[in-house]
Each structure stands twice: as C-alpha cells, then as structure tokens.
C-alpha cells in the first residue's frame, strides 16, 4: 500500500486529508508536536479504513531535528504533505518579534527545512510527490495579515522553484491555495459561505488533483480570479485600500 506523510497532522484540514487518503487505501504517517494527542486520530483511521496508521514526533520549528525525524520514519512516504501553519496575530506581530518569528518559522522556514530533506530523498529515488498547503494570503501583502501572508508568499515561491527543479527527476510538487476553510483556525472569523470550503472538500480536491498531477490547486475556483483581480490593482491605489 502507498504511504502518505502528513506534517502537522492535528489540524482540522489534516484530519480530513488523512481520512480521504486512508479511504483510498493509503497507510498514514501522522506527524506533529503532540503525539499523544494524535493517538485517537491514529485509532480512528485504523477502525474506519483498516489501514496502517502511525504517529511521529515532529516540530516544524526545531530545524535541527528534521533529518533525524525523516530518517526515523518506518517507511519512505510516497507522498509528503505539509499542512502545518500558524495564522498568528498580525497586530501583535508588528510589535512583538517573538510572534513575528513564530509566524515566519511555522509557515515558511520550518516548511523549507523539512521539505529540503524530503526533496533530496525524492530526487535521489527519482519519485515521490510533495504537496504544500500555502495560502491565497501570500499572493499580495495586505495590512490585515501581511506577516502570515509574506511567510506564505515565501512558501509559495519555494514550492514553485522546487517544482521547477524536481520536474526532471520525476518528482511532482503541488501547491494548494485553499482560500477560506471552515476550521478551528478560522472559527472566530465571519467567513463568506460561498467562498468558504469545508475541510472534507479540500481533502477530496487535493486527492483528485494529485492523481491528475496538477501544479497549483485553487480549491474554490473563484479564488483564482479574485486573487487575479487583487493582483491587478495598481500599487498606487492598493496602498490606499483597507483590505
């Protein structure tokens, strides 16, 4: 059976992704900071889908541990999906470096650190799929969330460069721009229903897109055009807007 590694397995989106791939008979490696908290999820995958599920300690911001973490996995995963991220508090991050650093490390530096390790392994094997969950917030910096947005912008650029580099090695890299998703991370925000996806919808879209080897996935198609329009606004006008 093929194996999926989920980095940041505790989030609502990760739960849905794990269930979707397990329902398609993938073994699942759940990686996160709190392995005890991942145990119910591991049991759930085994009970519901009768697949092998394992839990692994992984801290995105503990960069030096990443080589050992990857080497310690019971099997080389066929697909690695990077789901972890941290929305943070924009206003706090403007004045508190600790908050800013956590946002950058959780959304960008940590992802680069672990995916560098995975990329070398896949390049050497000449196979594998890497999926990064980035964000539409990374497509243009806005005053309301540019700390998170700039880190995701870096991640999006990283994934695009990695895709370019690994193409010749037969390794596929997919970037996912989910748009708004109904999760605990966004439960305090009033989200427009038409533009908001359920985690299960995101998971199904990712599974289908991987099978079709898509490069960039916008889960709700509207977002591609919304972001296109936002990107086309001249900077002179954009800087005066309160977005």
């Amino acid at each position: 059976m093929p194996t999926l590694l989920i980095l940041g397995a505790g989030s609502d989106m990760a739960v849905a992704i794990a269930r979707k791939f397990a329902s398609e008979k993938y073994d699942i490696q759940l990686a996160g900071r709190n392995t005890a908290a991942l145990t119910p999820q591991q049991q759930d995958l085994q009970v519901r889908y009768n697949v092998n599920a394992t839990t692994h300690l992984f801290d995105a911001t503990d960069f030096s541990s990443h080589n050992a973490f990857y080497a310690g996995l019971p099997a080389v995963p066929d697909i690695t999906i990077c789901v972890f991220g941290y929305l943070g508090h924009q206003e706090k991050a403007q004045v508190n470096w600790q908050e800013a650093a956590t946002i950058i490390n959780s959304n960008y530096t940590g992802a680069v650190s672990i995916l560098n390790v995975v990329a070398e392994s896949y390049a050497a094997r000449k196979q594998g799929t890497i999926i990064g969950i980035s964000s539409v917030a990374g497509e243009r910096g806005r005053q309301s969330n540019y700390m998170y947005g700039s880190a995701k912008a870096g991640f999006t650029a990283y994934l695009s460069g990695l895709r370019n580099r690994l193409f010749r090695s037969g390794v596929h890299v997919m970037s996912v721009q989910p748009g708004f998703v109904n999760t605990r991370m966004t439960s305090h925000l009033p989200l427009p229903p038409l533009l908001t996806a359920q985690p299960e919808t995101v998971a199904t879209a990712i599974f289908k897109a991987v099978k079709r080897k898509k490069n960039v996935l916008y889960v709700k198609w509207h977002w591609r055009y919304i972001m296109l329009i936002i990107k086309l606004i001249p900077e002179g006008i954009f800087k005066k807007l309160s977005l």
């Binding site: 609502d12 739960v15 709190n34 009970v47 605990r184 439960s187 925000l189 009033p190």
Partner: protein
C-alpha cells in the same frame, strides 16, 4: 463569533457562539473558564435542550477509538454520528443496539436523550447498552462511569440532557446481524382499538411502530398502519441481495433546498399515507424484505425535511402514558384530532419496561406528532400537558421547547433526585441550556 442556532424544529432560534475542539485538554480549558455552556451534537433534537449562550460543538470530536469485530463492541468519541458508525459496522455484521428515527445524531446526543427505537419493548433504550462512558464535569475532571461505577453520575447522564457535563467518550455493545435487510410486515388497522390489539398480538417482533391518521373520526378514529420487522436471514433475500447480504445498494438523496410553505409537508404525508392505505395492491397484511435504511430512517432520505414546515418552524409533541391509561391516549388523540392543528400523521409505539432515573421511556403508549408554530399553539399544548399529567404521563425532553416547569417537576417522579445529582457535578450551573433554565433545573 455569534451565530444563529436552532435545532431541528427551527424553533426557537437563538444567538450563540459555537466552540469546537478536537482534543480533550482544549475542551477542559474551555469548560473551566466559562459558564452558561451546553454541549451540542448534530442539532437533531427538536427543541431547546442543546441551545444556550455558549454551545460546545461536539462534531469535530469524532474519532472512533476501537471496534471489536468479534465481540461487537464500539468505543467512540461522543461527536461521532450514528450514520458513520453504521457505515463501519454493518459490513462486518453488526448493527446499532438501539436507533431513533434518524441516523444523523451523535452518540453523545443518543446518551443525553437516552434515545429509544422501534425495539424498545424488547431491547430497552440506548442507556441499557452502554458499557462505560467518560463525562467531563464542571470542575474539569473527566469521570468514567457505568451502571456500576459512579452510577449516580451515569444514571443522571443517560437522558440528562447534558446537564451533568460533557459526554466525551462512549463504549457500547452492538447487535449481531447476518444481513443489512429487514423483513417487514405492514398491517392495516381500521381504528385505534384494532391497532392497540395488533401491537399486543405482534409484540414478539423486535421492531414495531404505527403511523396514525389523525384526521379520522367516528368508527375510523385512529385508523393506522402497524409496521413490524425483524433483521432478515440470508435465505430470505433475493438472488441479487444474496450476492452481498451486508451491503446496501447505493442510492441518491433528495434535499429540501429552502423553507417551503407549511402546508406542503402535510399535503405530502396525506398523499403518502393514503397511497399506502388505499394502494391498489395493498392487502390487509403486506410483507417484504427491504434495506434497513428505509425501514429505520424513512425521513433521512429527504435531507432537510424540516424545511417543509416553513420558516416559523414547528415543535414535536411526544408523550407517554402507562398501559393502564389507554383512556388518556384516546382523550389526547381526540383533542388533537378535533383541533386539527397537528401534522396529519402521528407515530404510535408501545414502550416496554425501563428502570431509569430521568429517561423518558416508561412502559406504556407513546405518541409523537408535529405542530407547526402558530398563534395559540402553546396555549393549546399547555392544555394537552395537563391531560398528560392527569393520566400520569410525561413529555420527551428532546422534543420539548415550551413545557412549563411545573409540568416537568410533577410528571418526572425522580426530578428532585436528578436535580441533586446535577448540582453535585455541575454546582455553579456552568452547564445550562435554555431548557434547563426554563425548567429550573440549573437554578
């Protein structure tokens, strides 16, 4: 963030914020820091039992922890819904020990309402099949309880409408089946006397319930169809069904996309009933083997059927009176029939014996029907309540949105003891719903 929340009856609707969690420590931190909270599952109870200022949404606490396919034991987090469990257990030859008329409820909700099914007279209510469960109480402590361990908490939690704490994990026994089909028998009864006699005659059947036509008067008063069933054996299936006896054929679901004018559902049910009753090939007794879904969950096939009652919503009225108080059943049904405000169909069921602290079922007749919200309805229902009380009966808290507190306190014999236990585990009334405030259970 405040949202507009309403349960299945769309009445009442309140502004509430919803707090979701996936880990027990998240829940604990929330519980010890807040008041006016109530756990809420899939919102399929009809009234205000799971509505409060702060609702704790259980739906993301939905992990299945173990399934012993040999012994038929399921251990789940309380936010798992029954439909998800059926998908896993039926192919392995197991079924829910007790199921209400919808599978879109959480296990926690099933316990908090102590739900009953068509097999109550044989298998009792859901509480009778619980091996043990965890309840996170107001102090933040999680207590594992069962009929023998912390039994006061256990019995006050079964049917306790979430007032003792948050039910977080439930381990329960399943029922062995050899097919996913039901051998169903439908019997026409020309009036209430006949259907009551038929209930008795068919009481050895595991599953039974009747649809009553509430509009008939005179000799046809209580005209009904009794539906009884048994899990089918493999040899009772046709050739196609035999190929995969534990798998149901795939089928599409219909949905009611928006609120309809309120007469639509009644028109629809009148037609459906008449079709069954007068159908060309419809004999007095009709037998067939059907998949379990239409047998147990006929209304689940129409998603959002509650919208058929329109924007104002509806309340469901369900009461029980003892077997000796058949006159009470007749009196109430007559009053409902004369008023003509209720749904055209009512569901009648005979409950078996049940020992419980605060659960709804007791040996006797239970009748349930819908009333679309209208001017004067609550005054009318208050009159019905008095008759129910007079005949020693009581109302189902899961369907209740309007009962007066004195009716509750006078009709549930253990209300005082229940309130004491609630106080013990929920001393500052941290867990509180609109219903518990109304019934003065958390004051």
């Amino acid at each position: 963030m405040q949202k507009r929340l309403a349960n299945w009856g769309n009445y009442p609707a309140v502004a509430s914020d919803e707090h979701a969690f996936t880990r027990e420590d998240e829940l604990r931190n929330y519980v010890v820091a807040n008041t006016h909270m109530i756990a809420r599952g899939n919102g399929r109870c009809y009234g205000d039992a799971s509505l409060g200022k702060h609702s704790i949404s259980m739906l993301k606490y939905d992990k299945m922890l173990s399934f012993d396919t040999g012994a038929g034991v399921m251990d789940v987090q309380a936010g798992v819904t029954l439909d998800q469990i059926l998908d896993i257990i039926v192919p392995k030859g197991w079924f829910l020990p007790v199921t209400p008329g919808t599978k879109y409820i959480t296990v926690g909700g099933a316990v908090a309402s102590d739900v009953h099914g068509k097999n109550h007279h044989v298998d009792g209510a859901f509480s009778g099949h619980i091996i043990d469960m965890d309840v996170l109480t107001a102090s933040g402590e999680t207590i594992c309880c069962s009929a023998t361990q912390h039994h006061d908490l256990f019995w006050a939690t079964c049917g306790g409408m979430g007032l003792t704490g948050v039910i977080t994990r439930v381990k329960f026994g399943l029922k062995k089946i050899s097919t996913a089909y039901i051998r169903q028998t439908q019997l026409k009864a020309k009036n209430l006397e006949e259907v009551i006699r038929l209930f008795d005659e068919y009481k050895h059947y595991t599953y039974s319930m009747a649809w009553i036509d509430c509009l008939q008067k005179g000799d046809s008063f209580g005209r009904s169809i009794l539906i009884v069933g048994e899990h089918a054996n493999p040899e009772e299936l046709n050739a196609k069904q035999k190929e995969a006896p534990l798998t149901l054929p795939a089928k599409r679901k219909l949905t009611v996309p928006f609120n309809l004018p309120s007469f639509v559902l009644n028109t629809f049910t009148v037609k459906a009933f008449n079709w069954l009753y007068y159908g060309k090939n419809y004999k007095k007794v009709m037998q067939k083997v059907i998949p379990y879904e239409p047998f147990f969950y006929p209304l689940d096939a129409i998603l959002q059927w509650n919208r058929g009652y329109g924007k104002a919503g509806f309340v469901q009225y369900q009461f029980v009176v003892s077997l000796e108080q058949k006159d009470g059943l007749i009196a109430i049904l007559k009053k409902i029939s004369e008023k003509g405000w209720g749904s055209f169909l009512a569901v009648l069921k005979v409950f078996g014996k049940q020992d419980s602290l605060i659960s709804f079922p007791m040996e006797g007749y239970t009748l349930a029907l819908d009333f679309p919200i209208r001017k004067g309805l609550f005054e009318f229902l208050d009159e019905l309540d008095e008759i129910v009380l007079q005949y020693g009966g009581r109302l189902y808290l899961s369907k209740d949105a309007r009962m007066k507190q004195e009716i509750f306190w006078n009709s549930y014999p253990n209300a005082g003891r229940f309130a004491e236990i609630v106080k013990q585990y929920n001393s500052d009334a941290r867990f509180e719903s609109l219903q518990s405030e109304r019934l003065l259970l958390t004051k």
